[in-house]
């Protein structure tokens, strides 16, 4: 991580308060690392797939909460 990368990440973390969200710090860090590593790559589908997996890891559902037929099992 360069100084600029650290600056960008810090701004992202700070924006959680600005926009009033309680997104976990790890989620922001993980998504930023993913985007930073692939920022010059053209294959968006692969990156979106990886981002989706990061978000899935952070979805915190208690078993039985979800009655929807599209629900997925964590992990």
């Amino acid at each position: 991580m360069t100084e600029t990368d650290n600056r960008a990440l810090q701004i992202l973390l700070d924006q959680r308060t600005q926009v009033g969200t309680e997104l976990p710090e790890k989620l922001i860090i993980d998504t930023y690392h993913l985007e930073r590593t692939h920022q010059y790559d053209r294959d968006s589908d692969v990156i979106i797939g990886a981002l989706r997996r990061i978000i899935d890891e952070h979805l915190d559902l208690a078993p039985g909460d979800d009655v929807s037929p599209t629900s997925r099992t964590r992990g």
Binding site: T2, E3, T4, D5, R7, A8, I11, L12, D14, Q15, R16, Q18, V19, T21, L23, L27, I28, T31, Y32, E35, R36, T37, H38, Q39, Y40, D41, R42, S44, I47, I48, L51, R52, I55, H58, L59, D60, L61, D65, D66, V67, S68, P69, T70, S71, R72
Partner: protein, 664 residues
């Protein structure tokens, strides 16, 4: 990233195999290549561009066709293989990148890139990496989008002036490149990816809601909106595709038109000459017609000498008759006196009676005088006759044909000279455009105009649909939020996913402008620090950055310096590039072609002193006119690892010779 060696084969003026050792020591970061004009400095810069990104650029930053890259002498010898290999180190590993293009076996004489087999190979620590990972590796080390800040042509540094124009299209392109090097795409992509995932999550949420009786209508409304949004997205994709294709067509046409700009100018000049020629021919025809008309009356002028003599005689006769007519009054008075005398028969003076003899004498006198009076009527008739004759002759005297013919002749001669001149102009201009299809060029110009109008219409349609799309998306978001608030424990997962994606979108969107502001502040500070080292005008306060990363010089009073010389532009551009390199903190070698050309000796010295600090490794391609080895480089000796010289072999061939630092 540190370069170690560059190998060329048939690249530009470098026929056959050539190699440059590029190893440098940490304390001696500079490599200098001296070469006169046409010896291949820009070809060396292009060799780096080509091996890394598969594209060489000309002086207008346009791609150079592969055929033009291959050495001309090699082409004549039917050696159609071109290759460049670059050995470098990055984060402790050794790499070798090899790009080559070889004529296809079935092609006798290649005409375009499709007539070659192309290959690219990247080895890491000796192991060949798979093809699909090469781009990713290079993007991690020195992405193509930021290459203009590492591999640059000093003559093109003035393009950064475009950044000062807030709505310039070229400036927008450079701004995007600057933000690429600064890492803004990570946030831009993050926002776009979060939005894509948000749409997917909302689709799942709508599907889930449809299975919950109390929220079924929300799900149906959301699905209806999503269907509309998808339809708009398809339209937008179609329009964007058309817009991109149109832009590409316009750029291609403009590029072709730029190459034939001179021909278009010559064609316009030729049309102008032809119009002049037509006008002159019309004028000549009119003058010839006038001459025919004038010549019809010219016989009158032939009579003039005799006519003048005859008129003179008539005028003399007229004067004699008029003198005689003048005498008539006196005669009439004498006749009246004699009549009175004869009637009264007495002398009016002494009143004596008149003798018969005198009376007879006076009667005779009266008869004679009355005869004279009668004769004077003839004078009057003669004057009338002469006047009538003079009037007739006057018409003959006023033809003016000779003068008119002389003027006509002069005008015709003048037109003949002009016609000769314009015919010569036509011949010269025609020669200049010979071989060019001017009708085709005119057709291209017309097509370009039509496409530009079409682009305007596409942009307008695009803006309209984007507006509708934003509106629909806001409706969907509002509905999704409303449904989320009501789901409770139902459809919790999809709703939570929507919330996370929405929050991610908000965080990334909000961070983009913050990061931009922060980066502009840092770049402005770094650029000012570098600028103050480079400029010879110490009273300047520094540089001020605008939203496009354009830099304006600020004088000692805090005012913008609006007019700056080409040299000052170059100094500001170098300050920007150095500031970007410092801000990025991602070490990559810098290769500069002719970076000192516009600078005076003091600025040149300042830049040469600074240049080795620009990057971990700096390769300077200079001609001795811009940088004299003895005069300018004396104090740099301790920073230079290697010096090379480009030697002329023939007009189509150069070779790289080492001056300092070992074999080439």
């Amino acid at each position: 990233m540190i370069f170690r060696r560059l190998r060329l084969r048939n690249f530009g003026p470098y026929k056959g195999e050539h190699s440059l050792d590029l190893t440098t020591q940490p304390s001696r970061r500079l490599i200098i290549v001296f070469g006169d004009n046409m010896r291949g400095k820009t070809s060396l810069l292009n060799a780096f561009r080509w091996v890394l990104y598969g594209q060489a650029l000309d002086r207008r930053s346009q791609p150079v066709d592969l055929i033009r890259l291959i050495n001309t002498d090699a082409q004549h010898e039917h050696d159609w293989a071109i290759s460049v290999s670059l050995t470098f180190e990055h984060e402790g590993s050794g790499y070798e990148l090899l790009r080559q293009s070889i004529r296809r076996p079935i092609v006798a004489t290649p005409r375009h890139s499709g007539d070659f087999e192309h290959s690219l190979q990247l080895r890491k620590d000796g192991a060949v990496l798979s093809q699909d990972t090469i781009e990713h590796y290079l993007n991690q080390m020195i992405p193509a989008q930021v290459s203009r800040f590492y591999l640059f042509d000093g003559e093109l540094l003035q393009e950064y002036e475009q950044l000062l124009i807030d709505d310039g299209r070229q400036g927008e392109d450079i701004k995007i490149a600057i933000e690429h090097v600064l890492g803004v795409p990570a946030l831009l992509n993050g926002r776009d990816h979060a939005r894509t995932l948000l749409k997917q999550a909302q689709a799942r949420q709508a599907k889930d809601l449809k299975h919950i009786n109390a929220l079924k209508s929300y799900g149906e409304q959301m699905e209806a909106l999503q269907a509309e949004i998808r339809s708009h997205e398809a339209d937008l994709g179609d329009l964007r595709g058309k817009l991109a294709a149109t832009n590409s067509d316009i750029e291609e046409l403009e590029r072709a038109l730029l190459e034939t700009q001179g021909v278009e100018g010559d064609k316009a000049e030729l049309d102008g000459h032809r119009a002049t020629q037509k006008r002159l021919l019309d004028e000549e025809r009119q003058l010839r017609d006038e001459r025919v008309k004038v010549t019809r009356n010219a016989w009158k002028d032939l009579l003039q000498p005799r006519l003048r003599s005859h008129i003179r005689d008539l005028e003399n006769a007229k004067r004699a008759h008029e003198a005689a007519i003048e005498q008539r009054g006196n005669v009439r008075a004498r006749v009246d006196q004699l009549c009175s005398l004869l009637n009264t028969n007495r002398c009016p003076l002494c009143d004596h009676s008149i003798s018969d003899g005198d009376r007879e004498r006076f009667g005779a006198q009266r008869g004679a005088l009355e005869g004279e009076l009668h004769a004077s009527d003839t004078h009057i008739n003669e004057v009338g006759r002469i006047n009538a004759a003079l009037s007739r002759y006057e018409k003959l005297r006023t033809s003016g044909a000779t003068e008119a013919l002389q003027v006509n002749q002069r005008q015709l001669a003048n037109i003949a000279v002009q016609l000769t001149r314009v015919e010569s102009d036509i011949e010269r201009t025609t020669e200049r455009i010979a071989g060019y299809d001017t009708a085709e060029i005119a057709s291209r110009r017309a097509k370009s105009k039509r496409l530009i109008e079409f682009r305007g219409k596409l942009s307008s349609d695009l803006a309209s649909i984007e507006g509708t799309q934003r509106h629909k998306q806001r409706e969907l978001d509002a509905l999704s939020r409303l449904a989320s608030a009501k789901t409770g424990s139902l459809a919790k997962r999809s709703t939570r996913e929507v919330e996370i994606c929405r929050a991610l979108d908000a965080v990334y969107s909000s961070a983009i402008e913050k990061l931009r502001d922060e980066l502009r502040r840092v770049v402005e500070g770094e650029a000012t620090a570098v600028f103050k080292r480079l400029t010879t005008e110490q009273s300047y306060l520094g540089l001020r950055i605008n939203s496009y990363y354009g830099l304006t010089i600020v004088d000692s009073q805090g005012r913008d310096v609006t007019v700056r010389s080409a040299g000052a532009e170059q100094v500001v551009a170098l300050a920007l590039i150095a500031a970007l390199n410092r801000t990025v903190g991602k070490p990559a070698p810098v290769v500069m072609d002719t970076p000192l050309g516009r600078l005076d000796p003091k600025h040149r010295r300042n830049i040469l002193r600074f240049i080795s600090e620009m990057a971990e490794q700096v390769l300077l391609l200079v001609h001795e006119g811009e940088s004299d080895p003895d005069r300018d480089l004396g104090e740099l000796r301790n920073s230079v690892s290697r010096e090379y010289e480009l030697e002329r072999i023939s007009s189509a061939q150069s070779a790289v010779r080492p001056r300092l630092g070992g074999e080439a």
